[in-house]
């Protein structure tokens, strides 16, 4: 068994009195696609946001490629990292938001090239050339100069995916990437993600697209009320779920 690319161990997270994550364990191997399913409020998004330290966990830890997220271990103590170092760690993790969160005052090309230039200090010309290549890869080669508001939702999400890839991340996290899209536009985004999966990108995807999970996922994780109820290959979790809660959920969404 190869080392985990992402490892989540005993993670707890509360917002005030609300206990959102109640001890999550998760291992994602390099090149694997993990799809996280579950009803809203089950903590799926919080889990993703904890992995790249957008949320600080209360207990437990997260490692990405063997590196502890947000802390540095020295002997028996964990030292909290400074914001600057956390920002640096995040460049190894791509994040795709439900609402795209593209920068509206920058063109598609500038959106994609921003982080390589400012976070990785890559030369401008090189970053732009690579941004152009990435936009071609997501099928938007003739939209490089367009502003986000001039694009459809599906196109915006594809720019956001290109932007996440621009840092050459070790893993890409997708937080319900198709939930804000018209049904007609979902396909083009899923196609792009399928293409990434085929090329060996390590991905963790929170989604309600069961079809995508069945076709692309190596592992399906079903979450409810802050816990992992069940995980395994899609053929097991989707077709022969062991738990009543999983069965109840799947019967509603299928």
């Amino acid at each position: 068994m190869s080392a985990a690319m992402v490892e989540v161990r005993g993670v707890h997270k509360s917002f005030g009195a609300l206990h959102v994550l109640r001890g999550i364990d998760l291992r994602v191997r390099p090149g694997e696609v993990t799809v996280v399913l579950g009803p809203s409020g089950s903590g799926k998004s919080t889990l993703l946001r904890s992995i790249n330290h957008l949320e600080r966990v209360d207990r437990g830890y997260v490692t990405v490629d063997g590196q502890l997220m947000g802390y540095r271990r020295a002997g028996n103590k964990l030292h909290e990292l400074k914001e600057r170092q956390i920002l640096k760690q995040r460049t190894q993790i791509g994040f795709v938001f439900q609402n795209f969160n593209l920068f509206p005052h920058l063109t598609a090309l500038e959106n994609v090239a921003e982080a390589p230039i400012s976070a990785q200090r890559r030369p401008r010309a090189e970053a732009h050339a690579e941004a152009e290549a990435l936009l071609r890869r997501v099928g938007l080669q003739d939209k490089t100069r367009a502003y986000p508001r001039q694009l459809s939702g599906g196109q915006q999400q594809r720019v956001a995916i290109a932007r996440a890839l621009a840092l050459r991340p070790k893993v890409v996290l997708f937080d319900e990437p198709t939930s804000a899209l018209d049904p007609e536009l979902v396909g083009e985004v899923l196609d792009t993600m399928r293409d990434l999966a085929r090329n060996g990108t390590t991905m963790i995807v929170v989604t309600h697209e069961i079809g995508f999970a069945r076709e692309v996922a190596d592992t399906v994780v079903f979450m409810d009320a802050g816990r992992v109820v069940e995980q395994g290959p899609p053929s097991v979790v989707l077709d022969r779920p062991q738990h009543e809660r999983t069965r109840a959920f799947l019967s509603k969404v299928l």
């Binding site: 790249n52 957008l54 914001e83 600057r84 920002l87 640096k88 760690q89 995040r90 460049t91 993790i93 994040f95 938001f97 609402n99 969160n101 593209l102 920068f103 509206p104 005052h105 920058l106 063109t107 921003e114 982080a115 400012s118 976070a119 990785q120 502003y147 986000p148 508001r149 001039q150 932007r163 996440a164 840092l167």
Partner: protein, 311 residues
Amino acid sequence: MSVGPPPVREELEDGIDLERLKVVPARYPWRWIATGVVAVLLAMAGHALVTNPAWDWKVVGEYLFYETILRAVWLTLKLTALGIVLGFAIGTVLALMRLSRVPLLTSVAWTYVWIFRSVPLILQLLFWYNLAILYRYLSFGVPFGPSFVQVATMDLIGPLTAASLGLALHQGAYAAEIVRAGVLSVDQGQLEAAAALGVPRGRQLRRIVLPQAMRTIVPTAANEIVGLVKGTSVVYIMALPELFYQVQVIYNRNGRIIALLLVATIWYMIITSILSAAQFYVERYFAKGSARVLPPTPLQRLRAAVAGWRG
């Protein structure tokens, strides 16, 4: 083979095709009546301005480009520029302090805004003007330790410095709130996206937040600038020869009160008009990406109209 019903042709009972009827536009007689009334009132106002000799238009013409007046306009512009540039510099720092996570910085910024918004500008100006009474000497050196340079307050803070200082500090309090409002108006998701991409903090602010905040900041800031152009007239109490003070000096000498007040009015209007035009283009610049297509500028509209006429 075509499917579906054949296209329906709208027809009246008399068998005439609807498409071939002439369209009569709707009439709005009240709009015409209102237009007429306002036009008459405008003509009356214009007539009253031109025909009454008390307006003294000839004297207005003589003094409009009088050298002392031009120098006074220049001083007004200088005070405005100093007040706005320094004011917004102070304001931006205060806004960032207020939004920081350091308790002392937030409360200092809050207190500053509270004090400087509470005290009338004219009072503040008099305080600065009379600073020498409070502190005869200002010294620069190690805090609570030895001082390296000592200057008499009177020499360092003349009327012009006192005026710019007062305007800038006063303006800073308002600018702080304007900048803060702008930063708060930017969607939280933008910061999250920047953080997720590992964009450094300073760059997040300069490249992502401020350009978007400018959409909210510019219209209010323009209001402040225009307000300050005229607000500078309060420094007349410090006997600084800006526009308002200067026209008073002149009409006290020659008694042509109305004419000289008109001179000042015209200059304030000219400056404000130029600023308003500048505002339009600055807003347009920061609007990039906010609409699918930006509306044309007046110049572009004019060109299009001319082209339309010719064509």
